[in-house]
Symmetry: C2
Subunit: 242 residues, 2 copies
DNA sequence: GCAAAAGTGTTCTTTGTACACCCATGA
DNA sequence: TCATGGGTGTACAAAGAACACTTTTGC
């Protein structure tokens, strides 16, 4: 016997998919080829199906677009303004995902009319998606300052300077090379492979991998690569608009 | 013209209402006098109505129970497991509220069959409400470590030792009196009133009020009263069960 | 050899932490 | 005058930040 309360609404899920290309943070966005808002840019989303939890639906959506199913995926906020979707009352549970851009399924992405777009060049998005991106970035900054999740955006092997570039992108700032290196190594999260980064044109840095057990252990704890409190959540966003 | 997608679900809101009684953190819980789960303990909740945003619905729910409408209220997670509500598929958007226990509307509370219960003595709650409390506390800890929101739980005038007791309750720890005092005063968030706390049996401490403009300014920023990283989110919870 | 980027070390400053001591109050 | 709790100071330890120097590589 169901509840007598009658107001049932559509539940959407929208995913802010972050990728890192070695220089800056990118978003995976789709150019809609369907109504409403045909031709405009949007986050990847979908509706909650029967017999599917929110987590499962979010995974499905990210998997459909990227072909990846082992991403970092975190729910961060639910948006429920009355007219946020002009078609019909819909509430949207928003997730952000961190994906390694090298592992993506290029065909799936092309099929959905999607592109990686630099955060600095983000176009205007439909509905309240601009705000979703802003909130996702805010959350990513707080989270990455306290937990070692940045690695999710990098390939399996990476150099410390590459890791630094990533953090500089997330916080839109410059960090001191020497202090950063010392701080990262002191966490015991990295294991040197002895290999060198052959893509470099100058001195080839050492490639590291994650110390997996230590990584899992520290996922629950807190840490910080960052000097001072860069994680303040009123810092200006590296967005071209909002 | 609505979307063709057909799966529309009930949207509930559940509120974890925190109060501080001078000694420990308390939750405002209701003993249900209706089905399902008649007679069992539950968070205060309700369904989303037509023409009402999520924020508005959460405010309504807290207001109904406490008579207060100027609380700190923050959405923190949406729960959507398939069978989380045995009656019917329902997703629940959870909020936590910080209220000043002295301002409550005692009649409204009695009317709803509600009671303040110490976090340490929390009974088993219905559905997934235990987990909601756990997650709310985790969020409160992180938030209070970075933002000066603790004051929301105190009366307008309070002493520094009272504030310390509050933080000790939130983090279930002991803090050094002298270091705490120095740290708090250095934030410039407090203004001495010159008055003394006449309720004390021994030396009467000075009463302070919030430096309101500074408080608003620092709401967006970050700060920390706490030594070290007490905000680690894997610390044991001061809950009697879960 | 030179420019560019990686790797390592050292100093100074700031912050955190652990204390000791004095003061105000009521019983 | 004693027990309890508030208020202030100081000294040592740890962490953060600034900065100099060396090494590797491609041109």
């Amino acid at each position: 016997m169901p509840y007598t309360h009658t107001h049932r609404v559509l539940v959407a899920l929208d995913c802010i998919i972050f990728g890192f290309d070695g220089e800056g943070l990118n978003l995976l966005l789709i150019k809609r080829h369907f109504e409403p808002e045909y031709g405009n840019w949007s986050l990847m989303g979908g509706f909650l199906n029967e017999g599917e939890s929110l987590e499962e639906a979010a995974h499905r959506i990210v998997y459909d677009l990227t072909g990846l199913d082992n991403n970092y995926l975190e729910q961060f906020q639910t948006f429920g303004a009355i007219n946020r979707d002009p078609v019909e009352r819909t509430i949207s549970v928003a997730y952000y995902a961190l994906v390694n851009i090298e592992d993506q399924d290029v065909n799936a992405i092309r099929l959905h009319n999607a592109s990686w777009i630099s955060l600095h060049k983000k176009p205007k998005l439909i509905f309240d998606h601009d705000r979703m991106v802003q909130e996702a970035l805010k959350r990513l900054r707080t989270k990455a300052a306290l937990n070692p999740i940045g690695f999710e955006l990098l390939p399996g092997k990476f150099t410390i300077p590459q890791l630094q570039k990533l953090y500089e992108a997330i916080y839109d700032t410059k960090l001191d090379r020497r202090n950063f290196s010392r701080k990262v190594l002191s966490t015991n999260l990295l294991v040197g492979t002895g290999e060198k980064d052959m893509s470099s044109q100058t001195k080839k840095g050492q490639l590291y991998t994650l110390n997996a057990p230590e990584y899992v252990r520290q996922q629950q704890g807190n840490f910080g690569f960052l000097p001072e409190l860069i994680m303040a959540d009123d810092r200006t966003m590296p967005l071209s608009n909002t």
